[in-house]
Symmetry: C2
Subunit: 340 residues, 2 copies
């Protein structure tokens, strides 16, 4: 069994959980990278609230962290491939495989094909791979494509999930306009458009995984407004009635083969008692239904990424979209056990 | 693309559906085998209520049907590997791969290891494979093991499903003692024991697919009694209050690695409004939940088998347990397209 060496690239809400999960799965953390001056220079164990010192000092210079020599860089920093491109490139050029929760990287060939092609080439030149995982992996793609394994004929696929905008730190809460007025939100969308968020890349991966070909993609966004004053943990303040609690992102894909796929993702600050739900129907012969209640979306984003580490290391070099990774697996043993 | 040639081996409730699904997926049916004198000598289209003649005459001599030369024999005849052994052997010796809904063949190494080893050898000698599919495939194994791909730590796995004992013809209804008195049922179990039915092989396949090792298996059966007079479509008579409507089969497996797996399967004649449900929880970090409502168990048993045909033909020769088949897939194209 190989012992795996990892760099934790981004030590925010998600990176901190990922660090713990990796250590519990026998991964050696050889470096940690963060931007915030409050984190840099401190022990990873302290920054990630692990309850013990790791001996790894968080640093701002990713280059130095990567020079320790890592099998894998686990990158959880920000959304969008354009924002993350230089970070991914740096990791790959240092000979580290990359697994990330960056959402576009699930299936970037639709929304960011040129950046994906460049990273694919850089990965191949360095003999490593890059792939993304997260809640998309098990819940929004593999459970659904597995369910489709019982379909004789698919007419349409529709999915809906909810996630709590308070669970991912202030970056994400601000990204979905929590606390803004509806006018601010509409003005922002009118001026800047609304970048394709999770739904498009998720649905493109799902269509590919079901063995079909996307022909056209439509995306839409509408705000979720507070019906009562609602406290936001993520922003640590109360969102007044009438203000934005989050957004419903949706994507619809028409396929060359006929079936239409749609996915609606409601990310907002929850009221009391709300939990994450994931629900899909495959319409056809026969109609098939799938539902996950009380999905711990934040935690399974992290567990999915960590469980994928062996698959990304084992993959052929290049940009590996989620549909091209093997079936997700539980890892009973230290992760090095699963590396071929 | 190859055109696939199949023998429909068993033209009962399930074989009839399977025949239609195969024809709709571009499979050429070159033979059909049945035992009943009411079926033998008639066109498969008539026997299977396809609404058209196929030109294939149902015959009782399996040998003659197999001599047409088939890529695959789709066998849906009876339960238990001991009952089906000679039929499977005959197919394999004629160079036909076998896919079956026979439940023990999902994972026969626990309950029928010697028969499985003999068939494994015969399959290898003839360069073909044998595997089973059915509702186990997507709903009771792959959805659950895929869900486990989001688990960091598994403490226990428990599942429960229901199926309608009226949906599978009189063979199956009698097998689960529909219409007997509780005393008849208890006497039968006391005298003959209760053979491991679906739960054991399903759970053994699941444990293997999650990457764990079964250490000990317990099975149990209790009758489901009618609380009111209940009409049985399968037996075409009314089951009186207090008589057996079916059984709850359960299995529990302790694994070497720690987690306990249990699966409870309630197969009984339904009252009004009841539908098939499939529900699983993975206890651990985190707890994960999965539920399928309105499962068309009978139909997905057939669609799953048909969608597996390419995988069984592509498999390495031998007895291929369900956990060793690739992820279930939707087949948008004629099945020959997926044969490598």
């Amino acid at each position: 069994m190989r012992s795996l060496r990892a760099v934790v690239y981004g030590v925010g809400a998600m990176g901190s959980i990922i660090a713990r999960l990796m250590l519990e799965k026998g991964v050696e953390i050889v470096g940690a990278v963060a931007r915030s001056p409050q984190k840099v220079g401190r022990d990873l164990g302290e920054v990630a609230s692990l309850g013990f010192a790791t001996g790894v000092i968080v640093e701002s210079d990713a280059r130095r962290a990567l020079e320790a020599g890592a099998d894998i860089a686990v990158v959880s920093l920000a959304s969008y491939l354009s924002v993350m491109f230089d970070h991914f490139k740096l990791c790959l050029e240092h000979g580290a495989n990359v697994v990330t929760i960056e959402e576009e990287s699930i299936y970037p060939w639709g929304s960011a094909p040129e950046l994906a092609a460049r990273l694919d080439r850089i990965a191949k030149e360095n003999g490593v791979s890059i792939a993304a995982s997260g809640a998309q992996d098990v819940f929004w793609m593999n459970l659904v494509s597995t369910l489709a394994g019982a379909s004789h004929r698919i007419d349409a696929v529709s999915g809906r999930c909810t996630w709590n905008a308070d669970d991912y730190g202030p970056e994400v809460a601000k990204h979905v306009h929590v606390g803004n007025t509806p006018e601010e939100f509409e003005r922002h969308v009118a001026e800047h458009g609304w970048p394709d968020f999770v739904t498009r890349s998720t649905l493109e991966a799902l269509v590919a995984d079901v063995g079909l070909t996307a022909e056209s993609v439509k995306t839409a966004v509408v705000p979720v407004l507070a019906e009562a004053d609602t406290p936001s943990r993520g922003l640590d303040r109360v969102i007044s009635r009438g203000r934005v609690l989050g957004v419903v992102d949706s994507a619809t894909i028409a396929t060359r083969e006929g079936p239409t796929f749609s996915f609606e993702m409601a990310g907002s600050v929850y009221g009391p008692g709300e939990t994450d739900v994931n629900e899909w129907t495959i319409w056809g012969e026969p109609d098939l239904h799938l539902r996950n209640d009380r999905v711990p979306t934040r935690l399974i984003t992290c567990t999915s990424v960590v469980n994928r580490i062996p698959d990304v290391i084992n993959a052929e070099p290049g940009f590996v979209t989620l549909d091209r990774l093997p079936k997700p697996r539980y890892r009973a043993l230290p992760l090095g056990h699963y590396v071929s």
